[in-house]
Structure formats: structure tokens, C-alpha cells
Point group: C2
Chain length 392, copies 2
Amino acid sequence: MIRKTRLFTPGPTPLLPAAQFAMAAADIHHRTAEFRALFLKVLAQLKIFVGTKNDVLLLSCSGTGAMEASVSNLTSPGDRVLVLTAGKFGERWVELAKAFNCQADVVKAPYGQTFDPGQVREALKPDARAVYMQATETSTAVRHDVESIAKLIQESNSGALLVVDGITGLGTTHFDVDGWGIDVLIGGSQKAVMIPPGLAYLSVSEKAWAAMESAKNPRYYFDLRKERKNAVKGESAYTPAVALVAGLGAALDYIAGQAGGDLGKGRIALVDNAQINAAATRAGLTALGFTLFAPAAPAAAATAVAVPEGIDSGVVVKALRNRFGLIVTNGQGEMQGKIFRVAHLGFFDCLDTIALLGAMEHIAKDTLGLPVTYGSAVAAAQKVFAEAASSS
Amino acid sequence: MIRKTRLFTPGPTPLLPAAQFAMAAADIHHRTAEFRALFLKVLAQLKIFVGTKNDVLLLSCSGTGAMEASVSNLTSPGDRVLVLTAGKFGERWVELAKAFNCQADVVKAPYGQTFDPGQVREALKPDARAVYMQATETSTAVRHDVESIAKLIQESNSGALLVVDGITGLGTTHFDVDGWGIDVLIGGSQKAVMIPPGLAYLSVSEKAWAAMESAKNPRYYFDLRKERKNAVKGESAYTPAVALVAGLGAALDYIAGQAGGDLGKGRIALVDNAQINAAATRAGLTALGFTLFAPAAPAAAATAVAVPEGIDSGVVVKALRNRFGLIVTNGQGEMQGKIFRVAHLGFFDCLDTIALLGAMEHIAKDTLGLPVTYGSAVAAAQKVFAEAASSS
């Protein structure tokens, strides 16, 4: 039988057709008026999408490149920084701090959990230059409470910058960048904005720009001050990924169009969409007898699902792919083999979720031998969708 | 919330991405070696897809163009022909026969039903030049028994040609073109072969070629003898729809790939795929309380569903589109407002069917006010898929 390939992975996520077409048509040179108009438009759209008055820059790199930029541009060797880590991407902040010779105080939460505010308060030293954290930890599908951490920093006397990796958080959780005081918020193209990998974007506060003046760590390709200077003219410092920029513009147009052309409301609708699909998926999988890995602080970007004792989660990943062409991801780092992850961020609708749960009913029964009543996972999700429809 | 557009229409059907990419890349002139190689390859593939040793021609027109060609090339004014009609497309044969001044004996079955063999036998006169029929009547989603009609013609002393509109039948029902003696079998591009409208193809038997020599009806663009002569060289008589030809080649490659590169087996798998999805859809809709419009002879190409008395089927069509972005079609001709039609032909997989039924559960409950247990339609379909999986 026919099996379509369906990505349910937390990046890359399913591509928006309108963005694919814009990419295919992007036969543009980057030092032309045509590209400058496109680049300026996309930068302006990104400010609305991020929801900030701060500058938003666009870099041709993966999200990790923007993470590096927010270390190399803001710190000097020997600087004290606070890193909050609860998974593989938190560990990446630790590695980056080390690579740029910062002295990292680390607050660690167990995989599948989020941080204890008291512990963070205690670890935040007056001389901390910056605090690095995730909005959502993709490896465990946990949502961290950025607002609380931001408040905690404001209330301290540290003056630390707040740098947030929102790569899977943007478009799946609400931020008030300027109100909370997020100095840097990082996003990636292959996430909620529905295009392939290759672009990262980040908002930069005035406080962060000021800090860059004294930051001594080496940077060249990721020199944000250079990018800011070029961005005003509608250019990037180095050759940009032109087709991806065109695709991003089309995707942000689409997201705006979901709310009658209002990109700000479109962003909110996108977050709601992820949250409703996440809730429906959790209801469905719980009905099938699965255990959620991060029940206390689940991210809407993805759902991490524990498999029964003695089973390798890779078996589920493989069965979904082989039988249904449906791609989910295994756990990362220490969670490999213990969980699998299903994404909700970006271009997913309720019928995708129903299809996923339909496939899971067969996998739960035939691959895992669970007692399954056909339709039960879908029924649990349907109730979530019905409630969402009646309350909207 | 996000709503993806999903075609569940019996043509155009959902496009195969690989075919879309091949079409986008088809920057080829048609009087070149490159195009000739492509055209010859596609014609050879079509013979395997149709499953015949007869010539198969490819025309740049919709299916109706090939229907016209099989009247204008095979008949002379005043010729007696037999037309079997049970819906809008059967009526098209009647109109074509009239347009080319043939004298049509018509066997008519009510909408939603198929023909009585006794009636056909009686209506088939010894001097009938040809019999025109559908393999499946798309307007009512009824499957006709081509094999029986072919046998009935063989057993008669009429010598009539058998011309079959297989536009929605090809890829959804099994044919033995040469064994049964189908003289002309017509297909269209926007159906089971997963590409947009614009191409028609037809197989032509030696008996039909011989009949063309004496056929006096006027034809120019649809002159099949001219096409046959050009096809040998890898050309079409007039400018072909180049991108669609490239897309068709990619789609037939994909269908072959579903059966390890064997296009003949791929065609069989495609028919099975449609039949299983059709059976699952019917089980699901019946579980919801809908009545099938053509329960006696349902086509696997599409399912026609009656709506409860006093309700216009357009309401269901509109609600599915507005709430879920899901496109089904209303009835055609006299069936408009009475039925809606859901397609299974071409690029559909079981998760599409589950998604459709998930949407239908909400529409049945919220739009039609039927008593619905969430998950019940999906559960009925799941049993069909489970049975198919265990027997394959």
C-alpha cells in the first residue's frame, strides 16, 4: 500500500508548500535591490513574529550558530556566566561557554524536569555576565519558565543578560520579549516557521548591544555588530542563504494570513495550534496506555513519550517509519532508547494529529502488544479538538 | 488553527511531490533528443501501466478529448453505436455520439446502479460499430462490469469495438485489456497517476486501427493515426504538454517503485491501495450512520455518500472545506445536493483515510446533528486496515 512520508520530528518540520515554491523561484543575486527589498521585508516580519521592538538579525547558519554568536559577542574569556541545563541543548550552552573560556556556573535539572527557582536564585552571582537557557528543551520536550527566570534576574543585583534559546520555543510558547527583558532570543528556520534548516534569527536588546562593546571573545562570521550595520541597508555581511530567506518570507506571510494578515496574531494562533495539537496527542497516547515523559512541564513543541519497561523506543520509531512512513525521533543523549518524541511545532493541523494517533493505535497493538481498542486514541484527541472548537 | 488543504476529489487528485519536482524541472524543448527519449520512455511505461500489448498513445487534452478521439476516429456519420450510460459521464458518450452524427442505441441504468446484462445483450445490434461505456461512472461512484460486457460482445455476432472510459477506472480496478478484448481504454492524468489535468492516454487495439481506415468522421488534432506515426519517433503530432509528460514519467516511476521497480505489479498494488482505502472509508462512514449511494457496485475510485433526507449535501462539502480544508465533491447532474463523493484513487494512504474519517466525525456531529461517538468511524476503518495488513 501507498505510504506517504510524514515528518513528525521537532525540526526539520513539515515544509509549507508556499515556502517551497518561493524557494524554487528564488533566482536572485544577493547584492541587488530585489534581494535588499526581500531581506528588509523579512527582517521587519521577524520583529513582529518574535514580538519585540529590539533588532532582529537573520544569520545563515543553524540555530547552534546563533547560540555561538550569543556567547562570542557577549562575553570575554574568564567571564562568569550562569547556564541552566536540563538536557542535550542545555549541555550545548555549557560546551559553548567552555569553548569561549567562560567560567560557567551550572544549574542542572534532571532530564524530563525543569529548574528549581530557588536553586537558580542561589546560583546567580552578582558578577554573572549572562544567563543562558532554553525556552523549551527539545531533547526532553520540557518547557522551562522563561518569565520566572527573567523576573528572578530582574530582582537580583547581577545585571546579567538573559539569553534564551527559543529555537523550538518560538511559535509554540508565548513570550513577552521586551516586557520580561529577554536580551537575546534565538530561533531557527526548520522549526515553527515551516522551512528547511539553514537560517537562524535572534532578537538583540539595547543592553546586549552595549555589552558587545566590551566583549573580547573572538568572532568573525558571527559578528553581530557587523550584521546590524548591514541589515539597515537590507544586506547581510556575508552571502546569505537566498532561497531560504525567500521561503521564510513566504512562510511568515502564510502565518500572518492565518490571522487575516496580522502576523502578531498569526504568531499567537500558531502557538495555540501547537498547544491544542500537543494536548490532543497527549490525550490520545495516554488513552493508549503510554506514559508521558515530562508530565509536569510539557512543551507544546513536542511530546516525549516513555515506552514500557524492557522495550527500546527505537522499535516504535522504526515501526512507524516502516509501516506508515511516519517519522518521529528517538530520545537524544541519555534518553535514547527510553523515549520517542512527536512534534507539533509549525505546519501541523488536527487531521495530522488524528492520522498520527491512528498509526499509533496499530503500533501499540501490533508492535508493542498493548491491549488496544481501535479508535480509542483518536476519540480522546477528538474531545480535545471539540473543546477547542467550541471555546474558540 | 492551521488547516491544510487536502484534496479528496476524484480528479484532480493529490499530486505526487516527485512529479511536481519533475514538472518544475521540465525546461525541455519538445523537438529534441532529450524530449524524444522522455516521450518514448513514458509511452513504454504507459503500456505496462495499462497492461496491454496494444499501442498506447498520449494526448495533450483532458480525458474528454480522448473520448472524442475514440468516437471521431472509429465512426462515420450514420453509424450505429451502443452507449451504456448510468450517470453524467455515460451521458457524455451519448452527446459525443450525437455530435459526430452516430445513431446511438442507449442502455440506461438509474443513477447509482449498473447495467442489466440481459438488457445490454438485447440492445446490441449486429450492425453496431462500437460499444461505449465507463469502467467506473465517476458521477455516482459506481463500478461497471467491463469483463462481462466484453464477453457479451465477443459472444454476439456484432463485431462491435469495445471502447471503455477508464479515466477513473485505471488504477482503481483490474483490467485484462488484451484478454477481454478492450479495443480502446482511456485514462486521464489527474486521476490515479497523481499529476495535474492536461494529459489523456488511450490504448488502441489492432482491430481499432483497422476500423480507423474506414471511419469517415472528421478529426484533426485528435487524429490517432497521425499520433501513432509520430509516437514511433518519440514525438507527438502537435506541441505536447512537456512538463506534464515529465511529471507522468516520474509518477509512473514512483508507482513502479512501490513494487520494487515492477510497474505491472505497481499498478496492481495501486488498485489494492484504492480498494482498501475505499473499503475502510465505507466502513467508517457507515459506522457514523451514513448511507452509501451505490452499495451494490461501488467503485474503488470514489465513494458516493447519501446525506440524510432534508439535508443538502452541499452543506457537508462546505463544512469539510471551511472547518478542515478538506475538499470533497458534491454530486453531479441530478445527484447534486443529494450525495457527496470522497475519492481514493491515486496518492492516498491509510493515514489520509483516518484523517478524513476524523474530520467526518466532527461534521456528522456538529453540522448534521447525528449521534456520534468519537473514534467510532476511525475504529471501523482501523479494522479494515488491520485485516488488510494481516492478509498481505
